[in-house]
Symmetry: D2
Subunit: 442 residues, 4 copies
């Protein structure tokens, strides 16, 4: 049983998804490692570095279910070596003729960096899918509420009107940039690693470069120009992508949290069936997911600093940073995965209350527009001064308008300016981008 609450039977669902837990849990990780080592053996057999039968036997037994994990763990602890326990545990189930040819000439980071690239590909695939699903919901909200007036708020204070569609479109626009970032970064992040002791492929003699090419090819990964065991910008970029994505979701969550205050009442999460808000205050209905998105974002952000620090790696391999990645990168992936899943669910069930939005617009919503109306004749800054004084003295916008000889319902009617046109533009751009890209990536 794990010691992390994030992995507990009770709470794991809040800090990861089943889908990503299967990538990162012990069975998933070891299976991933075995797959990498089987690909290595295959590439080596193709080049005559190891016997073909050995590669076949290795492939045939490359299943985590065959391993005695107790033994693997015990040997890991005993040898103090990250993967020798695995090697010995695997050797125990390999036929004699294959035992010495497994993990042949590779070093720990060859295995773990390559597996990490494979895992990153899965994680970014999930992010791609979920971000696009979220974008779809946001675009729908943007269109549906293109003209649903509500207060724009700056510094926490209601200002001029916006529409809820405008708010949703702003979220969608941010999400779209993340989709672009994934697409751009992907090729950099999905690169394999093979180099042996210090990355030079010296173990493999003159065939090393070709071996690496085949090895990466078998796994569908890019072949790097040079070993990158101490070049950790890739993990830093990956975690930063996830940190940014999660921050965006936290922004949306926090907005739902704030606008769900009963005193505002403009948005609300739909609670699931059976959900209990508070065991002491039975009336409460808390924005649980909204809140949790902020929590997750903080935790991912913390890991971002770790991997960025890890870029300052020493020599050809520096365990100080690279082992920190072992904890930080999966943590970031799991938390970001949970955030994507929760955000999707929250947004799919989001309650929008146009009447509350309308009510909260308030009597001052047209102050900018009145300023604009007064500006040409009175001067913009002079008008601002006059207006601020009058309103501070308790005058209404009507009174000021009347005194200035301006009137008509139109002038003081709530007006969201070009909000609708901006919604249209966000939708247009997003639709065009979506049409030209695959649903499944990479």
């Amino acid at each position: 049983m794990g010691a992390r609450l994030t992995d507990s039977a009770l709470y794991a669902h809040l800090w990861g998804t089943d889908e990503l837990r299967r990538v990162f849990d012990e069975a998933g990780r070891i299976q991933g490692w075995l797959d990498v080592l089987a690909a290595l053996a295959q590439a080596q057999a193709e080049l005559g570095i190891i016997p073909e039968e050995a590669a076949k036997a290795i492939a045939g037994s490359s299943s985590v279910e065959l391993l005695d994990l107790e033994v693997v763990a015990e040997e890991t602890r005993r040898t103090g070596h990250s993967t020798l326990g695995l090697i010995r545990g695997w050797q125990a189930v390999l036929p004699d003729e294959a035992r010495e040819w497994v993990y042949y000439g590779a070093t720990v980071q060859d295995l773990t960096d390559t597996w990490s690239a494979l895992a990153a590909r899965k994680v970014l695939g999930v992010a791609w899918r979920d971000l696009r699903a979220i974008e779809e919901i946001l675009l729908s909200l943007a269109k549906a509420h293109r003209d649903t007036l509500m207060a724009g708020r700056t510094h926490g204070q209601p200002g001029s009107p916006i529409t809820f569609g405008y708010k949703a479109a702003g979220w969608a626009d941010e999400v779209r940039r993340h989709v672009d970032r994934l697409r751009e970064a992907g090729p950099r992040l999905f690169g394999g690693q093979l180099g042996g002791g210090v990355g030079t492929l010296a173990f493999f003699g003159s065939g090393g470069i070709e071996l690496r090419r085949r090895f990466c090819g078998l796994l569908g990964l890019e072949t790097p120009a040079i070993s990158w065991t101490s070049s950790r910008d890739r993990p830093a970029e990956l975690v930063h992508l996830l940190a940014m994505v999660t921050a965006t979701l936290a922004r949306v969550g926090n907005e739902v949290y704030q606008l769900s205050r009963p005193e505002i009442g403009e948005l609300a999460e739909t609670p699931g069936r059976g959900v209990v808000g508070s065991i002491t205050m039975p009336h409460k209905r808390n924005p649980e997911i909204a809140e949790h998105l902020v929590t997750l974002s903080r935790l991912v952000r913390a890991q971002q600093g770790v991997v960025l620090e890890g870029m300052v790696a020493e020599g050809e391999r520096d365990g100080r940073g690279w082992k920190a990645e072992w904890a930080a990168v999966p943590e970031a992936c799991l938390l970001a995965g949970a955030a994507l899943d929760l955000a999707k669910r929250m947004l799919a069930g989001l309650e929008v209350h146009p009447e509350a939005m309308r009510r909260n617009l308030g009597a001052m919503a047209a102050s900018e527009k009145l300023l604009a109306a007064l500006a040409p004749s009175k001067g913009k800054h002079a008008a601002q001064d006059v207006l601020q004084r009058a309103l501070a003295a308790g005058e209404s916008l009507d009174e000021v308008a009347f005194a200035a000889g301006l009137n008509g319902l139109d002038l003081l009617a709530p007006d969201a300016g070009a909000a609708g046109r901006m919604v249209d533009e966000v939708v247009r751009r997003a639709r065009a981008a979506r049409a030209s890209e695959s649903e499944v990536w990479p």
Copy 2:
């Protein structure tokens, strides 16, 4: 099976100790919660708030082994409530007359904050014990090597001589300050929490304050002046203590790492029996623990930012920060516990190589002393200038000394100044402090 590598069968020993894992793993945490709730019931029975038999039944069944954790987990997920699953799971094994009196009037944070204080007490007790054990080793090293000359290094470059005892005493001095910090912070950190919905104890009518006093007293915790559900300086202080302690251990580890370079060769970890350094480069003997101490420190530091951010809590309870503590605080505790344990082991087996230290002193070790000798007559800054030029031009210290009419072996003999006396003072202060304090705390 947990998805965190830090909790995996293979690697958990690197990211926590069994001792602390038992505090934080699901069984340990839930048992801790049950203990808190049993204390609550007992205090309530003493005040006639719940029936005495109910409290007895609750105490009698307050064992995690009685619970069906599957059911607890299932109900936790279903209700979306942090502890209602536990309540229902517990109710299932309670006699009828006790079922409604369990968790009576308390809220989630009453439970979790109180338990966290209990856990913090255990963690700081471990830190106290291990820091003092580390101090003891460091004091021994300081005394044994009070006069073992080695190069002082600044900016990575050998300068004037120090002794290894001086280095160890500097570490010990820092550790002593952490012991002081634990002692000072303890009373603040070991406080209970009971308040109900918004912390006012309203559920309990006029008896709330007395109930809280008894509840905290039964658990050996301080009674707070006021509820602190949104006052999160305590967790921030706890994690900062751990982050500082771990940073000190990382400093020691990093020094061992650097001075273990074969080109320097002054220190080395003693590898455990059966330990394998490298599977590709069989001659290697890596400073594994030294390196890992740096890794652990980075990860604890990351959590420090999370809890500090969490201090900016909103309203009377703010899940955004407080749920982040759920992940961050145990993580920091487990990692710091691992660091303390590893550091103790590393230092207990530390190899010190006085001959390498002596060899690395180098020909320039006396440049400061020669400067001091020249200063009274030539002027300190003028002498520095002359000396720097001469040495840059390839002259030896001997030659410069001779040219200045200074000589004698004594002048250029390596001299660690007051290093030994500083060692004595550190040891003296530490011995006095240790004599006046308990081995077991708190």
Copy 3:
């Protein structure tokens, strides 16, 4: 002209106070350095290490106004040495007989660490004064509003009633802990540094230890047991104190920000005379200070990570971390100083609107109390279930109470439980503590 907006003529007042800027700006810092060097010369003269007239001349010219800072800067750049420019610039205004005796045998960190301790003392003195002033305001608010009912809010949602005094007392309680922390940490932080090249005092021969004692004594600083040039827990502790203090102020600021929303309207900053809220939306009155407290807190927190990382220092001096302190520590001090000053002003003018607080209590404020009333007969958990369902179905608390045979205005009257008594206890403890401590510290 500085390149940092935080130092600009336009905005510096938002990112520092004049009082602390005078400590840290170039003139203040250099003057501080000269004072340290004058004390060093005096101590050296007392021990016959340098001529008495030299010390007198040094003291007599230890004024930043005498220096040609252009020359100092030019030499600093030319030599690439942190303080050699200062030495040469000072020598230019010293009489011949003193020129070679200035900065005699000391190294850069002797100067800067000692000065930093002096600066820390000033900064913590300011923090002490301002925190206690803030505490005083908060205690007054707590007493004045001991019984001013308002909604407690959890997860952003109104729950059971609290009083505004209870909220203010919770802030005061947190502030008091910071005062305690300052008092405890002070003696650790106010320590001098003198050691020469690698901290061994070798330059000074056998008199080094006594020299250091006098040097520290003259400056009113603690004499350390051992040089701490690579032992950076002190700066880490200092910045963490400031980060925690600023986080508390940010918590208060954020609460004011949120409760100033017109939809809530319970608190408001008093804008200064002449203050303009918005140049585009003339009606707006933004919680500018409240908001800025959060900003400042984030920036101080960022520096906290820097100094904590710096604890992992290498060798006897490690510029990588120590030079980072040069930027990080003053930054944290200036920002925290601004936060203290702003918070004091904001709280002194805080508008409290009891009628809005009362209005926002809402119809559900008594749900916890009704639950408590139903619990003894119906069972607490059963009652919670019934109550939640009824309220979700749209029933009022009245209806539920009536159906359960409970009534009377009293039961459903807003009730803040023991909030008032907790306020009293916070005030009592604070008053006792304040009575036993000095207004001026250290």
Copy 4:
């Protein structure tokens, strides 16, 4: 005079470059703002929103030198408004007919976000230029030392051989990825902002969208689909780019620092003329720049957390995060600029000592190769075990080889495997990329 040491006359050169200081200092920033406002006026005149003469007058007086900054600062403080002081100060020098038409309808973020995009373009232009210059030096080093053997080091311990060219090529490869990242991110980052109060352009009636298009066009910035006042992924991305770039430079600096230890002696900075290493230990020659690159990286990284946190912005404008950007973004830019400049200088003068590299290869450099030679016959893992035991028992590689019937000088000759071919590939890819891109960007 600024209070930040980073801006002091003495030390500013270490924390920024003149080139970037001119962008961010008060005069530069205000000039940038005036340019933005002049472009706004011009666009408004083109659309008939303001009189053409007003726009001309505004353009004609849009010079920071005309402003009385004392007055601007005083009004900024008095009004508590970020830009009203500037408006009033500018109005004072504008002809009557233009005074009311300046800053017409725009809000603070319209100005500052747009200016920030312009500044980002300059900063990334500098980064592009300097990164490519650094790449050029690294490619030269890689080619020149393609076959210069040295020890690969993992966990701080010498392992199999690499070449210095391989190390330099690894750095170049990382730098190239940053160049790619700049190119990709640029278009996202160089976007203008215009929206008025809440971003809807309501002030401008139906012409707002067209106004924004012209405004952005005049400044050479992208026109956004929608206002992004609360969508702060752009600043987060910018600072992350700079943090990654600086981390890479810190990695290089740290490597120089470590390999400059006299005990290793493989690399050294060339000190500038007149540079003084140590005023207490005259022989010292410190890797000052190398060290400082690490310092700068830590400080930039700290700011990265601030802007990432700022992404969780509330409402249509959230000063808590956006004002934090005011401090964090320029700070990151200045520090990164300094790092780029220093790294370029350090690398241009880097001393490489092939003989020391050769000497440090050590007697065990061929252990991996011997393992490879033994593996086919003895089995790889069995051979590793035998070899490790023999070497731990003090046998030499020669002895082991001889005992195994393997010999010949060739086998144990240092061999960097495919290091040279990887160098070639890095150079090839970089040359191709450089040939297809502009020296000046964007």
